[in-house]
């Protein structure tokens, strides 16, 4: 029995020194085989006094179990080592692009529109779209823009050779016509953003495009004030550019808002210190959009009571937002659809 205890004690070291499965089999026979000490002892158990047999039998069984456990573990190790040797022959250069799934991606304009819309969805706005070929009435008159306004000239606005000439069917010059259309179709309160294409009489070149994209915003309710406009745009700027983003509103003029303002974001590129900053030109501020409180004349045009509701509206250029944040310039790259440019439009964080 003492000899057996020693065999068990030495087994881990002896098993560890075994180099391959053949050697393991030899050792296994020696440890637990028919000619092993253990087997010998188990065979001889009948020669013991009956009262000792159960105790010795249990001890021998425990020793066998322990040895078999050690052997089995070592076998698994050796088998894995042997397989790993074989797998060496299966080695490949994993840096090789041996199989490639095609890329693909949404346009930066689309990504930007979605991101902006989702910021406003978070504020409880809905997203609406509208016609691009539009009536002069919605593009101008309903927005308090008189027939003599210079923006209605053919040098600024693209007119269509279709429909009743009195209707002045045109390509909308901003997303603002949807302000009027949406209010005509919905009673207040109204909280809506409108993304879409808009058109101007600009011959395409590197820095001009007759087509670009805007996102219109409109909030009409009881007790909407200038502070609501300012707070909403500040919230938007922080969501879009980052938590520390500052904005300012400066007085401006648009026919369909009063008071009107231009919204500027503090230049995140130079933080106001760059005299020749490529983003802000050194002013420290980036002009982002026009906005203001909805003019009472607009409410009258859509049949809202200007004594009952107030509201604000804003319109931002999507290309402008994308250009400012991603340095995409000039604008021709937006519409040229060069695959080398499209591949750069990775997802927005």
């Amino acid at each position: 029995m003492e000899q057996l205890a020693q065999i068990v004690a030495e087994a881990p070291a002896r098993l560890a020194s075994v180099a391959d499965l053949a050697e393991l089999e030899t050792l296994e026979a020696e440890l637990v085989g028919r000619r092993s000490v253990l087997a010998e002892l188990q065979r001889n158990i009948g020669s013991l006094p009956p009262e000792r047999r159960p105790e010795v039998g249990r001890a021998l069984q425990q020793a066998r179990a322990e040895l078999e456990r050690l052997i089995s573990r070592r076998r698994a190790e050796l088998e894995r080592e042997a397989e790993n040797l074989l797998l060496e022959d299966d080695r490949v250069d994993v840096t090789l692009e041996a199989y490639r799934l095609p890329g693909g991606g949404e346009h930066l304009i689309q990504q930007t529109i979605e991101e902006v819309c989702e910021i406003f969805i978070g504020l409880g706005y809905v997203v609406a779209t509208g016609p691009e070929a539009e009536l002069g009435y919605y593009n101008f008159d309903a927005l308090n823009t008189p027939p003599t306004h210079p923006s209605r000239l053919e040098s600024d606005t693209l007119y269509l050779d279709w429909g009743d000439p009195a209707d002045e069917v045109l390509l909308r010059t901003h997303t603002s016509p949807m302000q009027a259309r949406f209010m005509e179709a919905h009673d207040p309160p109204v909280y809506v953003v409108v993304p879409g294409k808009v058109y101007r009489a600009d011959t395409p070149d590197a820095t001009h495009s007759p087509v670009f994209h805007q996102i219109e915003g409109l909030a009409v309710d009881r007790n909407i004030t200038m502070s609501d406009l300012k707070g909403t745009l500040a919230h938007f700027a922080r969501e879009f550019f980052g938590p520390g983003q500052r904005i300012r509103l400066l007085p401006h003029f648009f026919p369909f808002t009063e008071p009107s303002a231009e919204m500027h974001a503090a230049c995140f590129h130079c933080e106001g210190n760059g005299t020749s900053c490529r983003v802000c030109g050194g002013s420290g501020w980036i002009e982002l959009m026009g906005c203001g409180m909805v003019d009472p004349a607009v409410f009258e045009a859509v049949g809202y009571d200007p004594g009952d509701v107030t509201g604000f509206a804003f319109g931002m250029g999507v290309e402008r937002l994308a250009q400012v944040r991603h340095g995409l310039s000039p604008i021709r790259h937006v519409f040229e659809n060069d695959v080398r440019v499209l591949r750069q439009f990775r997802g927005i964080a």
Partner: protein, 802 residues
């Protein structure tokens, strides 16, 4: 509007001249600063000098030898300019002086004569661009003084962008009023009293068209000597971006910049009968304008005429015949108020944009005319030795008086928020010079001066209150809407886009235009709906002359751009509108403009493996994309069948149909069209109406996966050539009923063994029951039924089975 701070100092004593501070003030008032120019003294050691003698350079025909003195010993200098004579006062740089850009003056020998310094031109002093002659100073200028003391430098010039609602701010006076309101300090107006002689002018003025001209003031100044303006005026005009011409013309520009009233000056001797008539142009009339262009006039053009014909385009540009010239001695000053749209259309029509038209388009205060005419007369008397005649002609066709706008504190607080009471509002408006009298419990009656045409309604005054209060002082609050979410259609569009981008396509954004010839390139016949083209009335170029009726030209052109720029593999899609010359179903007064999904594939597409050629695109890549969309958007209701569409390959085009209506096509571009768009190989395109794809479907319903084993077998059929594979699959699957879990064609084969006009289609089927293990007998029975159905309905023969 360019604003020189030194000039502005005549109108207001500002508490600061720090350009950064003032730029912020202008911005906060709504006058965007587009640029700030620093005008420095770029020279030193330059003194005034008198030219005592001028002779020809002995050795050079084009040079002269001048003797000049700054009060001490005369010195000789060589000069190349000829615009002065002995007696002229000039700016003289003696040796040691430094001119613009660090140019140091020394004595040097020019053609054998030593020049002891230099007589300077404006450009050499950094004062302007003029270098045609030297700078001749005003007669009587003291000699020997430092010339730096005679120029208004250093100076800062702000370039302000004035919004179209503020005509009053297109002047130094208007800007001074704004700053006075901001700083709550007084401002000054320039003197306008004129020493008139007793003689009255004989000029008569008639306004025949009061819709175009509200007021016309004429003032006569005689005995003028036309010559250069004094240095101070020339420098101020230059700082404001206006080129000095002659004293009389400069005065009209100067007063325009000062007060905002554009003026015109006529040579009165060239005005027939000294009679001015304001009227519309008559058919066939022509006018040669100051820029030398002989213009045919339009009947809507408003002209200032004399009995012999038009002599100026009202508020836009004068005529050459009556232009003030060097020989002019009698001047008629015109200060008029023109109808803004009339001027705007005229200046656009004749492509004549001027400082004057820019102001008249916005609207010039009619009551400014007499003031401005007087100011101009005073200056012409002062600097051109003129004599102002009495009998000023002031014809008022449409009188304009100040008006009253009523405003309550409630009008203000409901837009700007609480915190504005009547006293505060009255105080803020008072800073603008508006007189606000209390009326009622919380009301104000505000009298509006005629120079503020933008203030007609209470809301206009609310804006002024906000502006003077300061936009930066408003709180920031965020109102919440009534619950926002993407609509079901918007969410489905997102799924559609992400399916295509996940498959490897890039989203393109081409312009929405085409040229009608693009339809010819596609081979679109006249009867095709794509010929219902809307053309632009005022197209920019031929390329953008029509609205697209199909997304294909834009996508094909984008593909072509890529191929020609070394990107041979192109996979683009677009979501956008097409436009048809027919009424929109929802809004009949505007054109039908449905949204479409389009795509184009050129070159190869799909996953690529090392050592294997990538797969060139063909129609099956397009239909695979469609199936992928069908899965993600649950489009089982859309059927794909063989179809045709002009522009596409007649044998490789699939039509997409919903309830017998075709909603789009997927196919290979017809080779002729591919050639026309210069695209190589097979080109795969698709164009599908978006609305049917985005319409929400009923929620799909869960099917418990069967726990029983499947039965899988293959059947190879020989069918007539015209039997579509999908039809075979459908007929056989219908015969198997609900047991079919999957069925897929895995081989198509033609050959002699099959026979002519026939093809073999091999299909693999997986059958499985949800509630039991299919027995061998049952499976065999179903299989027989499938074979029988194919034979019966399609004439299919079983070629083999496993």
């Amino acid at each position: 509007m360019k604003v020189s701070l030194r000039w502005l100092a005549e109108f207001i004593d500002l508490p600061t001249d720090d350009p950064d501070v003032l730029a912020d003030v202008f911005a906060s008032l709504g006058h965007e600063v587009e640029g700030v120019e620093r005008l420095a003294v770029d020279f030193r050691g330059v003194r005034t000098a008198e030219v005592l003698d001028v002779v020809r350079h002995p050795n050079a025909d084009r040079l002269r030898l001048c003797t000049v003195t700054t009060g001490g010993d005369p010195v000789e200098v060589v000069c190349g300019a000829w615009n002065f004579d002995a007696g002229a006062i000039v700016a003289f740089a003696a040796p040691g002086a430094v001119l613009a850009e660090g140019f140091e003056i020394g004595s040097r020998t020019i053609r054998g004569v030593t020049s002891h310094g230099m007589i300077c031109s404006e450009r050499e002093l950094g004062l302007g661009d003029d270098h045609e002659g030297i700078l001749v100073l005003d007669p009587g200028t003291e000699i020997g003084v430092d010339f730096a003391g005679l120029v208004e430098r250093p100076d800062t010039v702000f370039d302000l962008s004035i919004t179209p609602n503020r005509p009053d701010c297109m002047s130094m006076l208007g800007i001074a009023r704004e700053l006075a309101a901001y700083y709550e300090i007084p401002h000054r107006v320039p003197p306008t009293d004129v020493a008139e002689v007793d003689t009255a002018t004989k000029v008569t003025i008639t306004i025949e068209d009061p819709t175009g001209c509200y007021r016309f003031v004429g003032r006569e100044v005689t005995d003028v000597t036309v010559g250069p303006s004094p240095l101070w005026m020339r420098l101020r005009l230059q700082a404001a971006g206006v080129r000095p011409i002659s004293n009389v013309v400069d005065v009209s520009n100067y007063v325009m910049l000062e007060l905002g009233q554009p003026l015109h000056t006529f040579d009165l001797d060239k005005v027939a009968d000294e009679t001015i008539i304001v009227r519309r142009a008559r058919p066939g009339e022509r006018l040669r304008t100051l820029d030398g262009v002989d213009r045919e006039l339009h009947p809507d053009d408003l002209v200032v005429a004399d009995p012999s014909g038009p002599s100026a385009l009202a508020g836009t540009m004068g005529g050459e015949h009556s232009e003030v010239s060097e020989t002019t001695t009698r001047v008629l000053i015109e200060a008029a108020a023109w109808d803004p749209p009339t001027v705007m259309h005229m200046s656009k029509r004749h492509a004549l944009r001027s400082e004057a038209s820019a102001r008249f388009e916005r609207g010039v205060d009619p009551n400014l005319a007499p003031t401005a005419a007087a100011r101009a007369a005073r200056l012409i008397v002062e600097i051109a030795d003129g004599v102002a005649l009495g009998g000023v002609q002031d014809v008022i066709a449409v009188p304009k008086e100040p008006w009253v706008v009523k405003l309550t504190a409630h009008d203000v607080t409901r837009v700007l928020g609480p915190g504005f009471d009547r006293d505060l509002i009255g105080h803020l408006l008072g800073r603008l010079g508006l007189v606000a009298e209390p009326v009622g419990p919380d009301g104000l009656a505000v009298t509006i001066p005629t120079f503020r045409p933008d203030l007609t309604r209470p809301i206009d005054l609310v804006e002024e209150v906000a502006r003077l209060w300061g936009y930066d002082r408003f709180d920031e609050t965020v109102p919440f809407g009534k619950g926002g979410a993407w609509s079901p259609e918007q969410r489905r569009e997102q799924v559609l886009r992400r399916t295509l981008t996940g498959a490897g396509l890039y989203q393109a954004v081409p312009l929405s235009f085409m040229r009608v010839e693009d339809l010819d390139a596609l081979g679109v016949p006249d009867t095709d709906e794509r010929r219902a083209v809307i053309r632009l009335k005022n197209p920019l170029r031929d390329e953008e002359s029509a609205l697209r009726t199909t997304l294909l030209p834009g996508l094909l052109r984008a593909a072509r751009y890529n191929v020609s720029h070394g990107n041979p593999d192109v996979a683009l899609f677009e979501i956008g509108k097409v436009f048809f010359a027919r009424p929109s179903p929802e809004h009949p007064r505007i054109p039908d403009q449905p949204d479409r999904l389009g795509f184009v594939l050129v070159g190869t597409f799909g996953p690529t493996s090392l050592g294997r050629s990538p797969r060139p695109v063909d129609v099956f890549v397009g239909t695979a994309l469609w199936r992928l969309l069908g899965h993600h958007l649950d489009l089982a209701d859309v059927e794909m069948v063989a179809g045709t569409l002009p522009g596409l390959h007649p044998g490789r085009t699939a039509a997409l149909r919903v309830a017998e209506r075709t909603i789009g096509h997927i196919g290979e571009l017809h080779p002729a069209a591919a050639r026309a768009f210069e695209l190589p190989g097979r080109v795969v395109v698709g164009e599908i109406d978006l609305a049917p794809l985005l319409a929400p479907r009923p929620a799909w319903q869960f099917v418990e996966p069967s726990v029983y084993p499947p039965v899988t077998f293959d059947l190879a059929f020989v069918v007539p050539e015209q039997v579509p594979a999908a039809k075979l699959v459908k007929v056989t699957c219908d015969a198997a009923g609900e047991l079919v879990e999957n069925a897929r064609v895995f081989d198509e084969f033609r050959g002699e063994a099959i026979g002519e006009e026939r093809k073999s289609l091999a299909v693999t089927y997986v059958l499985r029951a949800g509630d039991r293990t299919l027995s061998g007998d049952e499976a065999a029975e179903v299989r027989q039924a499938m074979i029988e159905a194919a034979r019966r309905e399609l004439g299919a023969e079983l070629r083999g089975e496993t």
